[in-house]
């Protein structure tokens, strides 16, 4: 059986059920790299240019962990999934970068996913992804259908049951209802927010401090799109909804006491998007904290800022009551 490796980083958090279903329907065995560790990050940092952003370094570390474990690496180059809305360059060049810095990696399944090129080009790209596994276009078609269905189920499950991506993927146990003193929304890309190693266990830590956490995946896509349209007009970046959309949406919700923007240091799109949300929070006089993460961010500093922020929200809440 052909073994295909999927590095546990970047868009994997958005699309894993889709990719996994697709590959398994074509008869491949899917190998996912283990959760991020110090070793993963160290490997990524060692191989990539220093100013590369943290999530890409982590992704590279995962690719290294999979080399030798599988026959192919699955790293599509996702340029655009909506008409005239484009992704950050790093997603486009991901397969090429991995090939350059991980020479021992197995062949990469790469295809340009760009809906602006029309349906035919998209089908051809999907077919080329499946080519090493099958030549039969009908099987690819069926696998694509199953994959899209799995993706829809995954997105709905997170919204309906208020689950985070790792919970919906079965990586971490589902949450139990616990009494909470505050509700805080986390705004940011899932590949940063849900990687407990790079955020220094931000989410479990907040829960431990008696905070109910809302993440962008729990909000309806349409609601985020509406909130974003109000603040920003048409999206410019592919994953703008999970930052600007979620930020604008949650900051308007009465039940949310404050929001935390989590971004990687040196992230190009976030430098603009988080700033937009920050401006909006200032305008609406809502508490907002920006956490900029890189491989040097210390745990103690993060904790201090978090506690100070929560104390501030609580005091504000008491004053209002």
């Amino acid at each position: 059986m052909v073994r295909v490796g999927i590095p546990r980083g970047l868009l994997t958090y958005q699309y894993l059920p889709m990719w996994k279903t697709f590959l398994e329907a074509l008869g491949a065995e899917v190998v996912i790299s283990p959760p991020t560790t110090r070793q993963t990050l160290a490997e990524g940092v060692r191989r990539m240019v220093a100013e590369t952003c943290l999530p890409v370094k982590v992704f590279c570390g995962h690719a290294v962990a999979l080399a030798g474990q599988c026959d192919y690496l699955f790293i599509p180059s996702i340029k655009s999934v909506e008409p005239r809305v484009y992704n950050c360059s790093k997603f486009l060049g991901l397969p090429d970068m991995v090939r350059a810095v991980v020479p021992e990696a197995p062949p990469i399944l790469e295809a340009d996913i760009d809906v602006n090129q029309g349906r035919r080009a998209l089908y051809r790209a999907i077919y080329s992804l499946a080519r090493p596994l099958t030549w039969n276009p009908w099987r690819v078609r069926e696998a694509t259908r199953l994959a899209m269905e799995a993706h829809r189920r995954y997105v709905q499950e997170m919204v309906r049951e208020k689950k985070t991506p790792p919970q919906a993927l079965g990586f971490s146990p589902p949450e139990e209802e616990a009494p909470h003193r505050l509700t805080v929304a986390i705004v940011g890309h899932p590949y940063i927010v849900h990687d407990d190693f790079i955020t220094h266990r931000l989410l479990p830590r907040l829960k431990g401090l008696g905070v109910r956490v809302l993440v962008p995946e729990m909000a309806l896509e349409e609601e985020m799109a509406r909130a974003m349209a109000k603040l920003d007009g048409k999206a410019y970046w592919t994953y703008e909804a999970e930052v600007v959309g979620a930020g604008a949406y949650y900051l308007d919700q009465e039940e949310v006491d404050g929001a935390i923007g989590v971004a990687a240091f040196g992230c190009g799109p976030d430098s603009l998007m988080v700033d937009l949300v920050k401006r909006y929070a200032r305008e609406r006089k809502r508490p907002f904290l920006t956490l900029s993460l890189d491989e040097h961010s210390g745990e103690a500093g993060l904790l201090t800022r978090l506690e100070a922020f929560l104390d501030m929200i609580e005091r504000k809440k008491r004053k209002c009551e």
């Binding site: 990539m48 100013e51 090429d96 350059a100 410019y236 240091f265 430098s271 603009l272």
Partner: protein, 363 residues
């Protein structure tokens, strides 16, 4: 309505000519200085790249001179550049300037977009007048770039350092002051001749290609005058990127299906198979193509520039052998640090050339 625009090398000369021809009330922001950068850094979101900050600084200084309509490049599917305008407008409003920001969608609408923008700015001037103004602007641009190419050649060879640079400054001023084609042509010829007449030292200089991100390559302030400094070290600079080349292709020839970058892109194919926005693809291609006839390459990129980070990660794996020095540009860059690195790089190139010549028996 008083129009202003950001700086990019000597682009202000043709733009000023164009606006004057059209009778548009405009103001050229002061040339980039330390003050521009400080003002911009203070007011812009911290994680943004140098081109954003410097163009914002130009806008702030233009607003201080009374500008209320600003022109910025834009468009979808390039890098952060497409979103500059939106955030810059927010920042300027926060600072208390009531401005209108117009974006020229250069990446998709090409010539048509730019012409419509001029129509709008000029308050509906007749097309014939716009076309003739654009032609005159382009003539100035082409003359300046032609002179600059000669400056690159002379700078490396001149006996007394600094003459070519001084002549170029003089030429920029002279070209800016001309008002008709005849005197423009005469002045261009005049400066080209004066440059050729500069006494030379007769040495065979090193050839170094300058490549990388569009803005930092073309705006000398943003790269700490790297070309002048290389010239002082006796190095001849070659670059493919000129504003006149860019306008010729992006505005006129690309829509006709002529792509000047195809050669670079095809060269980059074995290492980077797709366009990653900005100039990342071309940067990889430059290394592949120029490995044979250049002694070295200087790769310029703004700090945190997404496409250039991809290029940087890929460049070491390119098999074509040529030394590359990557210089990152941001508001923290110190000139002395850069000079030290340049000197070390040039020493390395000299030794490399000498040892290669010994191998093939050329002296």
């Amino acid at each position: 309505m008083r129009v202003s625009f950001p700086h990019l090398g000597h682009l202000w000369v043709p733009v000023r000519a164009l606006f004057t021809e059209l009778g548009v009330d405009h103001v050229v922001p002061p040339l980039n200085t330390r003050r521009t950068l400080t003002l911009a850094t203070k007011n812009s979101p911290e994680g943004l790249c140098l081109p954003f900050k410097l163009t914002l600084g130009n806008f702030i200084e233009a607003c201080e001179l009374g500008a209320d309509t600003l022109v910025q490049a834009g468009g979808a599917g390039i890098c952060r550049l497409g979103r500059y305008g939106r955030t810059q407008e927010c920042v300027l409003r926060d600072m208390g300037f009531q401005v209108q920001l117009l974006t020229a969608g250069v990446s998709e609408k090409k010539l048509q977009g730019i012409m419509q923008l001029f129509k709008k700015i000029s308050g509906g001037a007749p097309w014939a007048r716009i076309v003739s103004a654009v032609r005159f602007g382009l003539a100035k641009l082409n003359s300046l770039d032609e002179i600059e190419k000669e400056v690159h050649r002379v700078r490396a060879r001149e006996k007394v350092k600094g003459q070519a640079t001084a002549l170029f400054q003089e030429a920029t001023k002279a070209v800016d002051e001309t008002g008709d084609y005849d005197s423009l042509k005469r002045r261009k010829q005049d400066y080209l001749e004066r440059l050729r007449a500069v006494p030379q030292n007769g040495e065979d200089p090193l050839l170094v290609g300058v490549m990388g991100e569009f803005y930092v390559v073309l705006e000398p302030f943003s790269n700490n005058d790297v070309e002048i400094e290389l010239g002082k070290l006796g190095v001849e600079v070659r670059r493919d990127l000129f504003i006149s080349e860019w306008t010729r292709f992006s505005l006129f020839l690309n829509p006709l299906g002529i792509n000047e970058k195809r050669r670079l892109q095809q060269a980059a194919m074995p290492y980077l198979k797709r366009d990653v926005g900005g100039d990342g693809w071309e940067s990889v291609g430059e290394k592949v193509l120029h490995a044979r006839h250049f002694d070295g390459l200087v790769h310029l990129a703004p700090f945190t520039c997404m496409p250039e980070i991809i290029a940087q990660n890929i460049l070491p794996s390119v098999k074509e052998d040529i030394p590359v020095l990557t210089l990152l540009c941001d508001e923290q860059t110190g000139k002395q640090g850069m000079l030290t690195r340049l000197e070390a790089f040039v020493d390395l190139l000299k030794r490399r050339r000498a040892s290669r010549r010994q191998k093939v028996g050329v002296h």
